[in-house]
């Protein structure tokens, strides 16, 4: 390590926040750009599975709640792209990388939402898993990222409660509704467990990120925490977690549970999930279809930049 790097690591170890204009190692910057960018992409791609049910929400109130939620996700995307921009990469560059398939988004969004119960399961399990990841990141070393996370976490926990509320209504509803809820849990349980990523005990990459306080916990720690939190919630709903080997382990003070099928994880990551083509296709189409709109606004701003403040 160079003296600069040592000093940088000391600041991190003292829990100081790193701010945009300050010196940082190249690797730190690059890792953050990748991580924040992927997170931002996940927010906007994550609009799609839930967006799929906005026009079919069963009541006006549910429609409004879901729409507000999906809108919040777009807002989270905004915060995060802004945080990434402080590291010297523009939103358009990040989007270009997404559209070209060079940057990823969370694989969970490559699963379809097939019934209204999925709106519950996504809120409960997917937002639940996301929060598990994000809460510690409020204390991450990079200032703008940390502040974005603080705003996002507040809203996410609200979303998770809304999701759980949908599940409660479904489970207290008709037999068909209860069956839908169980089916949604069956389909989203393992994909939710996959959200924490494969076990990272042997990953050098993870170790460096943890030293930099970009990653705050191991994937396995978070997964365990998620299972321990979620299992009693499922019980409360009267639903069965689709894992015959799930049981409480008194000794370790947590549940034993089955690993997800990691070959499925890698398949989805490689582009072979049920909805990869549709999700990326929808984003690319929105971008391409909107080109004339963005260009129109820029042209107008350019024409009038003398007289009035540029609009973009």
């Amino acid at each position: 390590m160079t003296p600069e790097e040592v000093a940088f690591q000391d600041r991190i170890d003292r829990n100081e926040k790193i701010e945009p204009k300050e010196w940082m190692p190249d690797g730190y910057r690059k890792t953050l750009i990748r991580q924040i960018g992927q997170h931002a992409h996940s927010e906007i791609v994550g609009q799609l599975p839930e967006g799929n049910w906005i026009t079919r929400a069963p009541t006006l109130e549910r429609k409004a709640i879901l729409l507000a939620k999906v809108q919040d996700e777009a807002g989270h995307g905004l915060y995060l792209y802004s945080a990434a921009e402080t590291l010297g990469v523009s939103r358009d560059e990040l989007l270009e990388a997404l559209h070209a398939g060079k940057m990823k988004y969370s694989s969970i969004f490559n699963y379809p939402t097939l019934t209204w119960a999925d709106m519950g399961a996504v809120g409960w399990l997917v937002d639940g898993a996301a929060i598990m990841n994000q809460v510690p990141l409020q204390r991450t070393s990079y200032g703008p990222y940390s502040r974005a996370m603080i705003r996002i976490c507040k809203e996410e926990s609200f979303h998770q409660r809304q999701g759980y509320d949908i599940m409660m209504k479904m489970c207290a509803g008709t037999p068909e509704q209860k069956a839908m809820a169980q089916d949604a849990l069956n389909r989203f349980w393992y994909p939710a467990l996959m959200m924490f990523g494969p076990s990272d005990k042997d990953s050098v990459h993870s170790a460096q990120s943890m030293a930099w306080r970009i990653k705050m916990n191991t994937n396995d720690e978070l997964r365990q925490k998620f299972v321990d939190q979620t299992v009693p919630q499922a019980k409360f709903l009267g639903l069965t977690v689709p894992d015959p080997d799930l049981q409480w382990n008194e000794e370790k003070g947590g549940h034993d549970f089955s690993e997800p099928d990691w070959s499925e994880f890698y398949a989805v990551l490689a582009g072979n999930g049920p909805c990869n083509a549709e999700r990326l296709g929808a984003r690319v189409k929105a971008w391409d279809d909107g080109a004339w709109f963005r260009e129109g606004l820029m042209a107008h701003a350019a024409k009038h930049s003398g007289g009035r403040v540029a609009a973009e």
Binding site: G51, R56, L60, L67, A74, W287, D289, A311
Partner: protein
């Protein structure tokens, strides 16, 4: 009373159907800021629809709720103007539809603030602030895109020409409208036209768009028009989608 219910459904259905159309954009807008803004307007309109249809159900007095009206009426019972059920088209058409409606909507709500019915006046004074902002935004975007690139100009002109023939219906008075005006509940739609004309003319000029002039107006002659329940073929598809869960699982709680 039946006229009041009828009229409340017109106001509420406009909000419901336009709010629904806007919500179709969620996740597919041309820029993140637009995605958020459109969702916001959709939310405002759905919120207003809950108030208007809630009042419609109350005035009707048959024990129905706003949700019952939204989810359990078939197409002939809807009372929105055809303009708001027009398909989204490209984003320019969505914005033009929004502008043409917002300009009417704002005038209407301003008129309703002094309604003799306190409940109507209450809802209107809540909604008027939201809608003033909608109009500000849609007018601004129509201007910027009309006066943007050649492509954006052409798209906005096309949108205008396409949608303008559906604006007349908003200002066509009928027996229900006259009953509301006589009771002091609502202004006569035709009285809102001069103010709307002025706003539209001003914005189109700033946008360097050509006013379509005195063209045919759907739903203003004969027996047609959404206000009288004669819609376009698009509404049935919208409702099939929107109402699916309530229809498939009658009586369930969500």
């Amino acid at each position: 009373q039946p006229e009041f219910t009828e009229w409340l459904q017109r106001v509420g259905d406009n909000c419901l159907i336009l709010g629904h159309r806007l919500s179709e954009w969620c996740g597919h807008g041309p820029a993140l800021e637009e995605d958020i803004a459109i969702a916001n307007q959709s939310l405002d309109l759905i919120g207003q629809c809950q108030l208007w249809l809630g009042l419609a159900a109350e005035v009707e007095g048959r024990g129905r709720s706003a949700d019952d009206l939204a989810y359990l009426r078939d197409v002939l019972a809807f009372r929105n103007v055809v303009l708001v059920e027009r398909p989204n088209g490209d984003f320019g058409q969505t914005l033009m539809r929004q502008f043409l409606f917002d300009a009417f909507h704002l005038e209407l709500l301003r008129g309703l603030e002094s309604s003799t019915d306190a409940r109507v006046a209450d809802i209107a004074s809540k909604a008027v602030k939201e809608v003033a902002y909608h109009l500000e935004r849609s007018a601004d975007l129509v201007i910027r895109l009309g006066d943007g690139t050649a492509d954006s100009h052409a798209r906005m002109q096309k949108a205008l020409d396409l949608l303008f023939p559906y604006t007349g219906e908003m200002f066509a008075d009928d027996a229900t409208d006259r009953a509301m005006a006589n009771a002091g509940i609502a202004p006569l739609p035709s009285t809102l036209k001069p103010a709307w004309d002025a706003v539209v003319a001003e914005v189109l000029t700033a946008a360097s768009l050509t006013h379509p002039g005195e063209v045919w107006q759907h739903g203003t002659t004969g027996t047609g028009g959404g206000k009288r329940g004669i819609h376009s073929e698009h509404l049935g598809y919208l409702l099939a989608e929107m109402q699916f869960l309530q229809r498939a699982y009658p009586g369930a709680t969500w």
